[in-house]
Amino acid sequence: MGDQPIWITFIVTFVIMIVLLTSMAYTTWYERKVLARFQDRIGPTRTGPAGLLQPLADAVKLMGKEDLIPEAADRKVFYFAPMITFITAILAAAVIPWGGTIELFGQSVNLYPTDLNVGALFILATGSIGVYGIILGGWSSGNRYSLLGAIRSAAQVISYELILGFSLVGIFIITGTMSLKEIMFRQHETISFGPFEIANWFVLSQPLAFVLFVIAAVAETNRAPFDLPEAESELVAGFMTEYSAMRFALYFLGEYISMIIMSLFASTLFLGGTSGPGADTYWPLGIMWLVLKAIAFLFFYIWLRATLPRFRFDQLMGLAWKVLLPLAILNIALTAFFRLIGNGQVF
């Protein structure tokens, strides 16, 4: 935690939460714009310059809608299920580091809400608790589509959570820590590669893990081509079918915030986080690099959605259990073996 007073931590946390919610709104704008370009359209243009006020208009519209609760629904669970998804999605931001400790107005300020020694595990845990929001929401709606969507989603998320978890073990072996801050600063060091000094990003030493992580991250956030839980053509809107107004918006917020968190998480673990030219001298540059990496990652998400058709459910499960799981375990064994050789601990 460093030596900063607790109120500064709270301010930093609050600012990060507000930034996250705002950036979530603009992620929807970004997605619509980029998707439109892929489809040879121009996207939203009417509300504000370049449609920049569109997310605000959407929020206002959603607030004015009727908050409908179906007769067959289990009211209490129906009320609270979206909150679980929303809270856990934001909660993951608690361990994402935006830099080290800086001096601001004569105070030392940590550019991260908290530095848990189980940071990476914490993000995985919030992801798994988020499934409760989906499955309780689907179950309590009293609707067939919702129930099917919820169960599919649960099966998908737990399967890909394994891959997500296993793909990180290689990094833990290399760094010997689960604290995201330490993992990130390890990547600020450089290694010599022939005549060049290159950054020690873990995507270089863990390329297979990175690929596995990206696939699992897309599936974990229920995004295309793995958006089976809300497959419109067969399940209407999946677990969200009976939700309306702001409760629907909470699910929506949760999904987009998870996307942003996953982008930040991937950037922190594999792409060096705030590492980049000038980042060690000026901390705003570090934040800029992290944001740029996350935006590139979000672009990749949208690119996938624009390009790939949806998987069939058996293909989805087959991919996770028959292809990715053996690969993930192979990656762990290989990483461990090379680490042993590197340490000179063989025989």
Partner: protein, 121 residues
Amino acid sequence: MEFLGSNWIVVVFMVVATFIMGFAMAGISSVVGPSRPNKAKSAPYESGIPDIKPVRPQFTARFYVIGMLFVIFDLEAAFMYPWAVNFDVLGMGGFVHMMIFVSLLLLSYVYAWKKGALEWV
């Protein structure tokens, strides 16, 4: 090892703050938005046709198999994390132990595969 140390206060703070935020947002919409429920509106959505019988949480047993497999492999992951973090300390011995553990699990994995537990019929 601090469990409820100062690091976790921030997490509690975030839970409370997001809870208030979510509650406020859902609250605003139920205050501002109209509320005119009628019979047709609050019936379960069924693409326009009336719902015949109430929904029972009934689904294919495949999901249970996936659930059980998940518990097994998630436990494996839970054992792997502390091993991975202390990898340099444990060295060769730890590596051999972990490989024996993983190969035992892989054996059951191959068995499950051969039995068809991973096929989605």
